[in-house]
């Protein structure tokens, strides 16, 4: 798998910012995820060559951090908090509603490739529990009606 032109220019930009090659691994992986939606195993050697770090170091970082996806995800990636505050505010009913509405269970992607549900730890908005985050935008005080509204407003 080869690097796209767009990704190459992103990596060039990142490389310029850091004094050591290894420092650029984390932002570089972010750029790869933005490009492909996940980190394909096949792209890692190319990225490693481009950054002049061993491919092992790329894999090490991608598997360490939860928010790098190792396989392809939906267009909308739903993070649903399952930590203490959201648990006290019954995130389980929200999860059940989401799973029923999208007809998938947590960790899966809808067949049309639009939605993926992932259970995550605290999203830092405990005052609005239960909380979810879709592609970086957070939504709090979730109810089934609110979820309908949010998901229907996505294209």
């Amino acid at each position: 798998m080869e690097l796209t032109v767009n990704l190459k220019s992103r990596l060039d930009e990142i490389k310029r910012k850091f004094p050591f090659a290894f420092s650029s691994v984390l932002p570089a992986i972010h750029a790869v995820q933005e490009e492909f939606g996940y980190i394909p195993l096949e792209i890692e050697p190319a990225v490693a060559r481009y950054l002049a770090v061993p491919q092992e170091r790329i894999r090490e970082v991608t598997t360490f951090y939860f928010m790098f996806n190792n396989r392809s995800v939906g267009k909308y990636h739903i993070y649903l908090c399952s930590n203490v505050s959201c648990w006290l505010r019954n995130y389980e009913s929200i999860l059940a509603y989401l799973e029923k509405k999208l007809n998938i269970s947590a960790g899966e992607t809808t067949p049309d490739g639009r939605f993926t549900i992932s259970l995550v730890e605290c999203l830092g908005m405990c005052e609005q529990a239960p909380v979810m985050q879709i592609n970086g935008i957070s939504y709090g005080d979730l109810t089934p009606e609110k979820i309908d509204r949010i998901l229907d407003n996505l294209d």
Binding site: L41, P54, Q55, E56, R57, R59, E60, T63, F64, F66
Partner: protein, 530 residues
């Protein structure tokens, strides 16, 4: 760096500010439990076993990454520390399988050792253990990985990053999912790979060659020098004298590196480590002579009597001894005394295996002999005096050589045939049965490096001593003993009674060895005169 004094367990210890508390303790014979710390690798500080109490600091500190300061008061054995270390061990062992009876590391496993010294708790864990991937995955030619035994100390990861610089080993994932492995589809492929199973403190990385050959508590050890290249890495021969019925009578079980700060530090290359089978397999055990009915076995003295007869019948300038750089300094000296000085035979060191071009900037040298340097210095030669193996036949023809004594060298079928045509009698002295030994008029068995005492001079001029692990097989003997007996048959007043006494004779006449004293050459060897 400045000199300071710290108090460790009530004992005043002088140290320096560039040393950590753990290093200082280890240097002074105080053992603080540790897994991730290795003196040859960078400090990771992740196993938390080396916790100590330092007065004035409220929390316990890891001694591997705390540098000494003047007046520091450290406790490594008080109740608070012992309790904390016991709990760290409890966590490290929480998912560890109880498979010691079938684990090859048992007996030299630091989990077992620390469980007995600082652990000894009853397990409080009632949940199910997290079980990692399947057992015993080969990750390279020599190394077997059992992920579930790993405590992720990261020594292997740091070794491949810092020493072999090949980066194969990585810790993937995080928390209790984390596991060491190689990159998907990549093998552990470097010439120092087996070192990672030496430094693995537990049974996660074991040796595919040694697995299940022998329980480590049956092993005996002898300090030796690796004979596989001119570096002369310090090794330990682990052998099993008590159970010869196992492993078909093989004695050597494995070779392990031995610490020498001046030569190999803690490491050994795979080529050297696994080059030990010739010690037990295919050995030349007895003298034999070529007779019309085939090879006839002789007693050593009868063989040497015939050799003496042959030497007496042949003019010395028509006798050529091909020396071997596998001979020790003492053996090369005895050869020079007897053949060069007393008999006046021609002596040559062939260049076979000297300029192989196979070397790196770490340990591996292109010269695949342990003692080329020593033999050259004993005969007062330069590398330009080596006899190119390709010119051997020309040399034999030109000088009209009638007796060729070959010490250990392998001769091709072509050369053997040509020697026959030149009516040159071949006498083979060697450790193993080779085509040359089988074609030779007379074959004389020699002891391997593991069966004799002596010294090698490595590429840097360091004279290093090795000791015998066990007795030689059959009639095999060190060269100086063979030459001593041969001298008797020749009616010469020459005796080489022991390696120490031959070394004594050697050093009196050779400025390079003059300052050295055989019995004073220590574990790290000593440099000869510049």
């Amino acid at each position: 760096m400045e000199k300071v004094t710290i108090t460790l367990n009530g004992q005043q210890i002088e140290t320096t500010t560039d040393k950590t508390v753990l290093q200082t303790a280890l240097d002074n014979g105080i053992h603080i439990p540790h897994y991730c710390y290795h003196p040859g690798l960078s400090i990771a500080g992740n196993c938390r076993m080396c916790l100590v109490e330092i007065e004035g600091i409220p929390k316990l500190q890891i001694s591997c990454n705390t540098f000494c300061r003047d007046g520091m008061v450290v406790h490594s054995t008080n109740d608070r520390v012992r309790k904390a270390v016991r709990q760290v061990l409890e966590f490290l062992l929480i998912n560890h399988p109880l498979d010691c009876p079938v684990c090859d590391q048992a007996g030299e496993c630091w989990l077992q050792i620390y469980y007995m010294t600082v652990g000894q708790y009853d397990s409080r864990f009632t949940g199910n253990k997290v079980i990692k991937h399947k057992k015993a995955t080969p990750i390279g030619k020599w190394v077997m990985l059992d992920q579930e035994r790993c405590i992720t100390c990261s020594r292997c990861v740091r070794f491949t990053r810092e020493i072999s610089k090949t980066n194969e080993m990585v810790i993937f994932n995080r928390g209790d999912h984390c596991e060491i492995n190689t990159y998907p589809g990549r093998e552990l492929e470097n010439r120092y790979s087996a070192n990672i199973m030496d430094i693995c403190p537990v049974g996660a990385l074991t040796c595919r060659d040694f697995r299940f050959k022998c329980r480590v508590w049956y092993l005996e050890s002898a300090d030796s020098i690796c004979p596989s290249c001119a570096r002369g890495c310090n090794i330990v021969i682990h052998h099993n004298p008590h159970r010869p019925h196992k492993r078909n009578g093989a004695r050597v079980m494995r070779l392990k590196p031995r610490y020498n700060p001046e030569v190999n530090k803690w490491w050994l290359c795979d080529d050297g480590r696994y080059n030990y089978r010739f010690i037990d397999q295919g050995r030349l055990r007895h003298c034999s002579v070529l007779s019309p009915t085939g090879r006839e076995q002789l007693y050593l003295d009868e063989g040497l009597r015939r050799l003496a007869e042959l030497l007496r019948q042949t003019p010395p300038r028509q006798t050529l001894l091909l020396l071997s750089a596998h001979s020790s300094n003492e053996e090369a000296f005895a050869a020079r005394r007897l053949f060069d000085q007393s008999l006046g035979c021609l002596c040559k060191l062939p260049d076979e295996g000297v300029f192989t071009g196979d070397q790196d900037d770490f340990l591996i040298r292109e010269d695949k002999h342990p003692n080329t340097n020593g033999v050259l210095r004993i005969f007062g030669w330069q590398t330009s005096d080596l006899l190119p193996m390709a010119d051997l036949l020309d040399f034999v023809a030109q000088k009209n050589i009638k007796v060729l004594l070959v010490n250990r060298h392998e001769l091709s079928a072509d050369i053997l045939g040509q020697l026959d045509q030149l009516e040159c009698r071949l006498v083979y002295l060697g450790t193993n049965v080779t085509p040359a030994a089988e074609a030779a008029y007379l074959a004389v068995p020699l002891a391997t490096f593991a069966e004799k005492e002596g010294t090698f001079t490595n590429c840097d001029g360091r004279v290093q001593k090795f000791s015998p692990a066990f007795l030689a097989l059959g009639d095999a003997a060190p060269e100086w003993e063979i030459y001593s007996r041969l001298a008797q048959h020749l009616g010469l007043e020459q005796a080489f009674p022991s390696a120490a006494e031959v070394f004594e004779q050697l050093r009196t006449g050779n400025p390079f060895f003059q300052k050295l004293e055989f019995h004073e050459i220590g574990a790290f060897g000593e440099l000869g005169a510049p």
